[in-house]
């Protein structure tokens, strides 16, 4: 509770704040348009393209990039890699914010957002993969919230409540991994029902596995990426443990990501072989597919490996950006680009600028909340009262 200043100092009129303020303003205007004029007023969604950027980016990418929470907490608490302890809190925080924003963004996309609890309290559609996703996301958001509370409780000085939550750590972590496995993979499984609409190079019975494994890659890469961002902007908020462990986290996670990427590449090739899709590789779609596989799977895999071998933290940090982009590209390919590949270009979807506006707005809200929390609560450092505990 000691430091309440913003990292940029006293004045509120920094360039960052001005831009953020403008985005929030535009977001507010679009929000009003969305809830008065309907989806048609702000989006290019159509009967052929019922899902657009808000599903492709806000939901699919958002959930994948928030996987850092379960990956890091599993590494630390389940696999016993205590040296990553200082990475857990920031990862949990990002995951919590990520999921919260996913749910927030969904309120724009679905037609009647106040009915979002209906599948659970009115009439469950248990045959739907979306039901599974919804249930897991709702539960996991709760789990993440509880996992995050110790930081807030320390900030508020509520020791008793905090110690209860800390005792639940292992249970919550296991819960988190189970739920993450389920919904990360189910997001891929959403597309299993549309084999006639998704290009065969991307459609596969392994979609759920692909989504789960690539979510691990996304989680590992996001932890590295986010920590390099945090180093840039919140360096003064970090304690010695965090600073000392940060390079180790980057090296360890980079090495892990490299190996997981390698496995991911293998199962992608297995997918080609199982469905006998080789001949598609020589088409235009094939070229695009190879861009994804070579440029955004193999390349980061190799760069991570070099970084891990040479103990080159800088290279690993840069590669994490590439790997994150690769995940974004993959989710876009499956939900937008290679989806409806059979339709003539006049029927294809391209996001309306207001759709992009809402996505930017949502991300901005996330960054602002993140900034508030790390400047106020013990995320990047340990609260002095609880230092002795591990």
């Amino acid at each position: 509770m000691s430091d309440t200043r913003t990292p940029t100092g006293g004045t509120l009129l920094t360039p960052f704040n001005i831009v953020a303020g403008l985005i929030l303003l535009i977001g507010a205007v679009i929000t009003v348009l969305r809830f008065t004029g309907g989806l048609a007023a702000v989006s290019n969604l159509s009967d052929y393209n019922p899902w657009g950027l808000w599903i492709g980016f806000d939901l699919l990418v958002g959930v994948a990039l928030a996987a850092g929470g379960f990956v890091t907490s599993a590494a630390c608490y389940i696999f016993g890699l205590k040296r990553y302890h200082s990475a857990v809190r920031p990862a949990i925080l990002t995951a919590f914010l990520g999921y919260a924003l996913v749910v927030f963004a969904l309120h724009y996309d679905v037609g009647r957002p106040w009915r979002l609890p209906y599948p659970f309290i009115v009439q469950p559609g248990t045959t739907s993969l979306l039901f599974e996703v919804g249930a897991c996301v709702a539960l996991y958001l709760t789990v993440l919230f509880i996992e995050y509370t110790p930081a807030a409780l320390e900030w508020l000085g509520l020791k008793r409540a905090r110690s209860i939550v800390v005792k639940l750590t292992l249970l919550l972590t296991i819960f988190g991994v189970v739920l993450s496995t389920l919904h990360q993979s189910s997001l891929g499984a959403l597309f299993l029902i549309a084999p006639s609409k998704l290009h065969p190079l991307w459609y596969s019975a392994y979609l759920p596995v692909y989504f789960f494994i690539s979510a691990i890659i996304a989680g590992l890469s996001m932890v590295i990426f986010e920590s390099s961002m945090a180093h840039k902007y919140f360096h003064d908020k970090m304690d010695d443990t965090h600073l000392a462990e940060a390079d180790g986290v980057a090296l360890g996670f980079g090495k892990a990501a490299s190996f997981v990427l390698f496995g991911y590449f293998i199962i992608k090739v297995v997918g080609l072989a199982v469905d006998n899709n080789w001949h598609y590789l020589v088409s235009g779609w094939g070229a695009w597919y190879l861009v994804e596989i070579i440029g955004f799977v193999l390349l980061p895999c190799y760069l991570y490996a070099v970084g891990a071998r040479d103990k080159n933290v800088k290279l690993i940090r840069r590669t994490s950006g590439l790997a994150v982009l690769g995940i974004v590209l993959n989710r876009f390919n499956i939900s937008l680009i290679a989806f409806n590949y059979h339709l003539p270009s006049s029927e294809r979807y391209f996001p309306h600028w207001m759709e992009i506006g809402i996505s930017v707005f949502v991300v901005t809200v996330g960054v602002l909340v993140y900034r508030f929390i790390v400047t106020h609560m013990p995320i990047l450092y340990e609260h002095p009262d609880y230092k002795e505990e591990h």
């Binding site: 969305r34 809830f35 008065t36 004029g37 309907g38 989806l39 048609a40 007023a41 989006s43 969604l45 009967d47 052929y48 019922p50 899902w51 599993a74 608490y77 389940i78 696999f79 016993g80 996309d109 679905v110 037609g111 009647r112 957002p113 009915r115 979002l116 209906y118 599948p119 309290i121 009115v122 009439q123 469950p124 559609g125 248990t126 045959t127 739907s128 993969l129 979306l130 039901f131 599974e132 919804g134 292992l170 296991i174 991994v177 189970v178 496995t181 389920l182 993979s185 189910s186 499984a189 959403l190 597309f191 299993l192 029902i193 549309a194 084999p195 006639s196 609409k197 019975a205 759920p208």
Partner: protein
């Protein structure tokens, strides 16, 4: 918005149905489902369709859809390919598939009322259900508007009221379910002037379709579209041109939609069942490793401590032994000395006896002395 008791209890209901049905599902344990035996459908004979749009007009009337932009008599709309919209549950399209100069082909398009509807499988509030009568009906009172049904439908049929801010619905053909329940014909079927549409039991329609193909093998393509596509549909088509030439996909396969997701859905409970075991196991192993490491450390410390102790003990023992030895030597020496002295004394005594017999008394005395020395040491 009203939540009925029936809906609220649907969790229990869903489970309950399963339990009561356990037997019959088991009886059919090969798990092959053939759909409702008396389900109705419509046979669309594309060879007979003249593209008059009467069905569109009738559909608009019976479903009280908003009035069209241009009259249904206006055939100019056929110049471009249309799809279903929230205001048009059905559309007729014209194709020049039969080749130059020959008559154009017209085909009517609407929800096919699949036997295993992808839309129903996909909906996470179960807003769609396949009715006994054959229609796939939609319940707007629970629809959240996620539009996953539209992603799922392989025929790209459901449409959405994107322009409604607060009450958007999914819109699609109802197979005139309310009218059918009243015993009436679907609006479009009733209005068709050329009998290109026939309403009836799906089984009967299949027979009729086969019969028509058999009688006119030169006219019809030998395929009933909808008999097997995506597990079969209630709406069936026969045509005089290949279906792919009139915008109907022939690459959909015969797998019913629910079968596409059953594998993924089936692995959910397995993950829930095994992941906690696996993860707790890994946790226990890593804990154990930590513990073993800790114990080993403790042991090492202990060993170091006992080692010093041992050393001290050994020292002590050594000293003790040494002392003992010293003592022994001392004793031995004393004994030796005493013996020597005794021997000497005896010699002296013998000498003295030899010298004088009356000096016997000191001999005894000497003996006593020797004994004493022995005892002393």
């Amino acid at each position: 918005m009203a939540i009925t008791r029936r809906k609220f209890l649907s969790w229990m209901g869903a489970a309950g149905v399963g339990v009561t049905v356990g037997k019959s599902a088991q009886a059919a344990s090969n798990k092959h489902f053939t759909g409702y035996p008396d389900g109705m459908g419509v046979l669309h004979d594309i060879a007979r369709c003249v593209g008059c749009r009467s069905c569109e007009a009738a559909c608009n009337t019976v479903n009280q859809l908003p009035p069209p932009e241009t009259s249904f008599k206006d055939l100019a709309v056929l110049d471009r390919k249309r799809r279903t919209t929230p205001a048009e549950y059905t559309v007729v399209n014209r194709f020049d598939a039969a080749g130059e100069g020959s008559k154009p082909i017209y085909s009517k398009n609407q929800c096919n009322h699949c036997l295993e509807p992808a839309c129903a499988s996909a909906c996470f509030v179960k807003a769609f259900s396949k009715s006994e009568e054959g229609a796939v009906v939609y319940d707007a009172s629970v629809c959240v508007g996620c539009r996953y049904c539209m992603i799922a439908c392989p025929f790209e049929i459901p449409t959405y009221e994107y322009d409604k801010a607060l009450t958007p619905r999914v819109m699609k053909c109802t197979l005139c379910h309310p009218r059918v329940q009243e015993g009436k014909l679907p609006g479009c079927v009733e209005s068709c002037p050329t009998e290109a549409l026939t309403f009836g039991k799906r089984e009967d329609l299949l027979k009729i379709a086969r019969e028509r193909i058999r009688r006119n093998p030169d006219l019809y393509i030998d395929h009933i579209y909808g008999e097997h596509e995506m597990g079969g549909t209630s709406w069936l088509y026969i045509s005089n041109v290949p279906f792919r030439d009139i915008g109907m996909r022939e690459d959909l396969g015969v797998t019913p939609a629910p079968a596409l997701t059953s594998g993924a859905l089936g692995s959910v409970p397995i993950v829930v069942g095994l992941w906690p075991v696996l993860l707790t196991g890994i946790y226990a192993i890593s804990q154990r490793k930590d513990k073993v490491a800790e114990e080993e450390q403790a042991l090492a410390v202990e060993a170091a401590r006992t080692a010093t102790q041992d050393e001290a003990a050994a020292e002590l023992k050594k000293t003790l032994e040494m002392k003992e030895k010293e003592k022994e030597t001392a004793v031995n020496m004393a004994v030796k000395k005493a013996l020597e002295e005794a021997a000497k004394a005896q010699e002296e005594a013998a000498q003295a006896r030899e010298e004088a017999a009356p000096e016997a008394a000191p001999e005894v005395q000497d003996d006593k002395d020797a004994k004493q020395t022995e005892e002393d040491s």
